[in-house]
């Protein structure tokens, strides 16, 4: 059973999609039910995975000991190229898999408001879930790439068909940006294959654990130009997904045009894939480059630029959803900063920040979705006094916004503080500037709350109903998570603590 667990998590959504396709298009209630049940089952399975996962087993003892042995599966797929169906997890992936399971389950409720082509929506949505789970479970470079790209196809249609006014533009922009990044990753995959073949171990050519252990491009005497090429190809590929300045411009468009459920997945899970790729592949494969002083400094500054730039952009937004989108850029900057400084606090903080941002940004997008359903516009200036009209909504919004702001005892706080602790060790100047970023975050969040929820109620928003049951189902669990993991961050930290130690042992 445990050997099947990862495959089940990955392919159960695809199975659900097949069932969904067999049901005629007019029964949209059944389609919704199938999607809920499938993602619900997947979420349960991810919880089982997390419960059975034993972090203390993760050690640096051997090549494969960094991964959970009980769930590791491997079987031959494309024999002439030694490509394997190889799935395995460590603490980092478990944390992100649970997050993906949770968000994809909750986002289905958010998607209930969709009435156009319901069957197609959920079919594509389930393919998307398979793609996301596959990225987090694959330990074969080729398989990883297949899942990485598989995710793009449904996303293109999900934004393009069910999105807002400018959806076609946003969809193709998202698609092309991400594809440009992933073809660079493809080049690296090919280079590793050829190199492994030429040094006589083609059987490990796509084996991520072996590639990390063997470092085929390493030569004594520091990072070579070739390693720099490979590193930056991978980094740009993943940075587009994160997204990092200057490759971030797809994000505001895609997030704003996408329907709420998809914005939730985009912000909650897809951005984490960039961070995951950096932690799983980019840094461990080429530690010589990542550990170079100039590279560390450059990336730390890049993270800082993201934090500040994203926050300033968010301050200037008039559109509620665009503001949340830019806040994502700012928050993901902490992830880059935390990884770049390469110390225990930084890396642990970066991973926690990914988890926390997954919860807080998903919640923010859901909150924006709720108000958009009622007002059919997102202009912050036109809102006001909503706190009086929708008290439950206001309460949830406070949790979501404060979690994003990084208020102590909320998820956002833990990640940011750990990252800043890590970066303080590395460079005081950068940390000082990053703290300024926190101030800016507080400024745009509080200012937005003031404009939307406080003040006198506007007549045009008179009679808005408070959150519906479906909306509460998707929002309340996230609010609970935002508080619980803020007070008890150890539950999450404990899962990946050993894995981040393994990660740091590469440098």
């Amino acid at each position: 059973m445990s050997k099947l667990l990862l495959s089940l998590i990955t392919f159960l959504p695809l199975g659900g999609m097949v069932i969904l396709l067999c049901i005629p298009g007019r029964f949209s209630a059944i389609h919704r039910a199938v999607a809920v049940v499938t993602t619900g089952l997947v979420f349960l399975l991810t919880l089982v995975l997390a419960a059975r996962f034993d972090p203390s087993q993760i050690t640096t003892a051997s090549v494969y000991s960094a991964y959970d042995a009980a769930t590791f599966v491997e079987c031959a797929w494309i024999k002439s190229f030694h490509i394997y169906y190889r799935l395995g997890v460590d603490g980092l992936s478990v944390a992100l898999i649970v997050l993906t399971g949770l968000l994809s389950f909750l986002a289905t409720f958010t998607a209930f408001s969709i009435t156009k082509q319901v069957k197609a929506f959920f079919a594509l949505y389930l393919i998307l879930v398979t793609g996301m789970m596959g990225v987090f479970t694959a330990l074969d470079f080729f398989l990883f790439y297949v899942f990485w790209e598989l995710m793009l196809l449904p996303m293109y249609f999900l934004i393009g068909i069910w999105g807002g006014e400018n959806r076609a533009y946003a969809a193709i922009k998202f698609f092309i940006y991400t594809l440009l990044g992933s073809v660079l990753i493809l080049l690296v995959i090919l280079a590793y294959y050829v190199k492994m073949k030429s040094i006589g171990v083609p059987e490990y050519a796509f084996n991520i654990p072996e590639l990390i252990a063997r470092r085929p491009f390493a030569y004594p005497g520091g990072a070579t130009l070739m390693q720099h090429l490979l590193f930056w190809c991978l980094f740009i590929g993943f940075a587009i997904k994160v997204p990092s300045f200057p490759f971030h411009t797809w994000l505001p468009d895609a997030h704003v045009e996408a329907p709420t459920a998809i914005s939730v997945i985009l912000a909650g899970v897809l951005l984490k894939m960039g961070g995951y790729g950096i932690l799983r592949l980019n840094y461990p494969l080429l530690p010589e480059v990542a550990g170079t002083d100039s590279v560390m400094y450059f990336l730390a500054v890049l993270g800082l630029v993201n934090i500040i730039y994203g926050a300033f952009c968010a301050l200037g937004q008039k559109d509620f959803k665009r503001l949340v989108a830019y806040s994502s850029i700012s928050h993901m900057g902490y992830v880059i900063l935390g990884i770049a400084v390469l110390n225990s606090e930084g890396v642990n903080g970066a991973i926690f920040q990914m988890f926390a941002h997954g919860i807080s940004s998903a919640m923010m997008f859901m909150l924006v979705g709720v108000i958009y359903e009622r007002a059919h516009h997102r202009e912050i200036a036109r809102f006001g006094g909503l706190g009086v009209q929708m008290p439950n909504y206001f309460a949830l919004a406070i949790v979501g916004f404060f979690a994003s702001l990084g208020l102590p005892a909320m998820v956002g706080f833990v990640g940011e503080v750990l990252v800043l602790l890590g970066s303080f060790d590395y460079s005081r100047a950068i940390t000082a500037c990053a703290t300024l970023g926190m101030l800016l975050t507080a400024a745009y969040i509080l200012w937005t709350m003031q404009r939307v929820f406080l003040g006198t109620p506007k007549p045009e928003h008179q009679g808005f109903p408070d959150c519906s049951a479906w909306e509460l189902i998707s929002l309340v669990p996230l609010a609970v998570c935002a508080i619980v993991f803020g007070i008890l961050p150890g539950c999450v930290l404990e899962i990946y603590r050993t894995s981040s130690a393994v990660f740091l042992s590469y440098f």
Partner: protein, 523 residues
């Protein structure tokens, strides 16, 4: 003995024989039957003939030693892995072209006897081209193929555009062919033999040793002009969009697949002896020999794919768009020749097989769309996806396959091709840490290739954008069950071939064709 010898020789071109007989049968049937019945009968006869030719390939002599393929008819006709793969592509192309044509609205007014005969004739000459080891046969096959294509392009003779397209095609083609003939005359003069394998190796030797004059390079360039025209390589591609747009859509599909593959067959027929020649390998390391060749093909590949992709970005007509896309694909394929090694040739063959399937699939849906909407402008396809989700799914599959995205075979094709380019680069580094100029050149080529594929996504997705994201309530778009079957026959392999093991077995020669036991008995 004489009889056995003759039979042995004839067995090598059994499939060509089958095709020739089919052409005669089709022409006779067309003469005897009335208009309505003859269409169906001629199509069925033609398709059966092509299928029989495909089966007859199984009886071709087995390739025992890939380095020294068996020759027939005193060294004029060659039967090896290369010719076998190309013949499979040609026959598949013929089968689907005939099936498509019968369903197309653009050809519904015309008799099918001559049409089928022309398609099969083009395929027959293409398959001789793939097997030619003598410049005379090579040229004859090349010219016959071109002639058939010129006529096919103008087959819709009552419309204005096809005539114009065909005239353009003819003028360009005639000039290109004559330039090639001129080049061939130089080659004959330089090497004193008409046999392609000996001639090309000797030419390459002159180039590598520096004993030849500038004429050596000039002759190669002149020959490349003729072939470059066929494969629509920059700067000989100008005919391509106009002809594809003007010609009936099934003919455009035929040109983009069979005619282009025939061009590559000609190119590889000339290049293969040089790539596998043992005496050339002795001079310098395999990567370094024939620097000029690598540079020329690499440059041609880069410019061709970039030009094709950039020009396609602005197209609004489906046929023109696919024409530019086919130019871009010629560019990707030329990367294999920039590497100029046997693994790259294998990758090119695998790419061509997959290209055949995906391009035919895309054209098939466009043929149906043109039939139903009466226009080949992409704008008129708005909302078509909702009328026939299946056809849209197949089109989308073909398009992402053309882009090279997993989980489709197009990704496998690009993976293999770019792998061979990167491999040339890594090998050029020779295990050292320093990136040599050669290695950097190959890395740059690979980078150009992948970036181009990313750019191509934009115009392929134009179809999806119109067909799904926009609505057009009064559009009628439907297909019969048979037509859906054609689409699935082309679309499904694209999903299955992501596991490229069977494909690699085919192109690298692990699978041997069935041994004709009958012939051994006769001997």
């Amino acid at each position: 003995m004489m009889l056995a010898d003759l039979l042995h020789n004839c067995a090598a071109c059994l499939s060509e024989g089958v095709l020739a007989l089919t052409i005669i049968a089709v022409l006779i049937a067309d003469m005897l039957l009335p208009f309505n019945t003859s269409r169906g009968v001629c199509t069925v006869l033609g398709v059966f003939g092509a299928c029989a030719a495909l089966l007859a390939l199984a009886y071709a002599p087995p390739v025992t030693d890939p380095a020294a393929p068996e020759m027939f008819f005193s060294g004029v006709f060659i039967s090896d892995r290369l010719s076998l793969i190309f013949k499979i592509i040609f026959y598949l192309g013929a089968i689907f072209t005939l099936l498509f044509s019968e369903r197309s609205s653009e050809l519904s007014r015309y008799r099918f006897g001559e049409y089928s005969a022309l398609v099969l004739g083009a395929v027959l000459s293409a398959s001789f081209l793939a097997s030619a080891n003598n410049f005379v046969l090579f040229l004859l096959a090349f010219e016959t193929l071109s002639l058939c294509c010129y006529v096919l392009a103008a087959y819709d003779k009552h419309a204005r555009l096809p005539g114009e397209a065909a005239l353009k095609y003819l003028l360009y083609g005639a000039v290109a062919s004559s330039i090639m003939l001129f080049g061939l005359s130089y080659i004959y003069g330089l090497t004193q033999t008409l046999s392609i394998d000996r001639s090309m190796v000797s030419l390459a030797e002159q180039a590598v040793l520096g004993t030849g004059t500038l004429v050596v390079y000039l002759s190669m360039l002149l020959v490349l002009t003729g072939i470059g025209f066929k494969i629509a390589m920059f700067p000989f591609h100008f005919w391509c969009p106009d002809v594809y747009q003007g010609a009936p859509t099934p003919v455009a599909a035929f040109l983009s697949v069979v005619s282009k593959a025939a061009g590559f067959a000609a190119l590889l027929r000339l290049a293969a002896p040089v790539i596998s020649a043992p005496q050339l390998a002795a001079y310098t390391s395999p990567v370094d020999r024939l620097q000029a060749m690598h540079l020329l093909f690499g440059l041609a590949a880069c410019i061709t794919m970039t030009y094709g992709n950039l020009a396609a970005l602005r197209q609004t007509n489906a046929k023109r768009l696919l024409a530019y896309s086919s130019i871009a694909h010629a560019g990707y394929l030329l990367l294999g020749l920039a590497v100029f090694r046997s693994d790259a040739v294998e990758a090119m063959l695998a790419y061509l097989i997959i290209y055949t399937l995906m391009n035919l699939g895309a054209f098939w849906v466009v043929i149906l769309l043109v039939r139903e909407t009466g226009s080949s402008e992409i704008d008129s396809f708005a909302g078509a996806a909702f009328k026939s989700p299946l056809l849209f799914a197949v089109l989308f599959l073909c398009l992402i396959s053309l882009t090279g995205l997993p989980p489709t075979a197009g990704f496998a094709a690009k993976f293999l091709l770019f792998k061979s380019v990167i491999a040339a680069g890594i090998d050029a580094m020779g295990g050292g840490a320093r990136i040599s100029l050669n290695a950097a050149y190959y890395f740059a080529l690979a980078l150009a290739g992948v970036l181009n594929s990313a750019v191509s996504l934009f115009y392929y997705m134009k179809f999806a954008r119109k067909m799904v994201f926009e609505k057009q309530p009064n559009l009628q778009f439907a297909c019969t069950r048979l037509e859906a079957m054609y689409a699935l026959a082309l679309g499904l392999p694209l999903l299955l071939l992501l596991d490229f093991d069977p494909l690699l077995d085919l192109v690298s020669g692990v699978l041997n064709p069935v041994l004709p036991t009958m012939l051994t008995l006769l001997k």
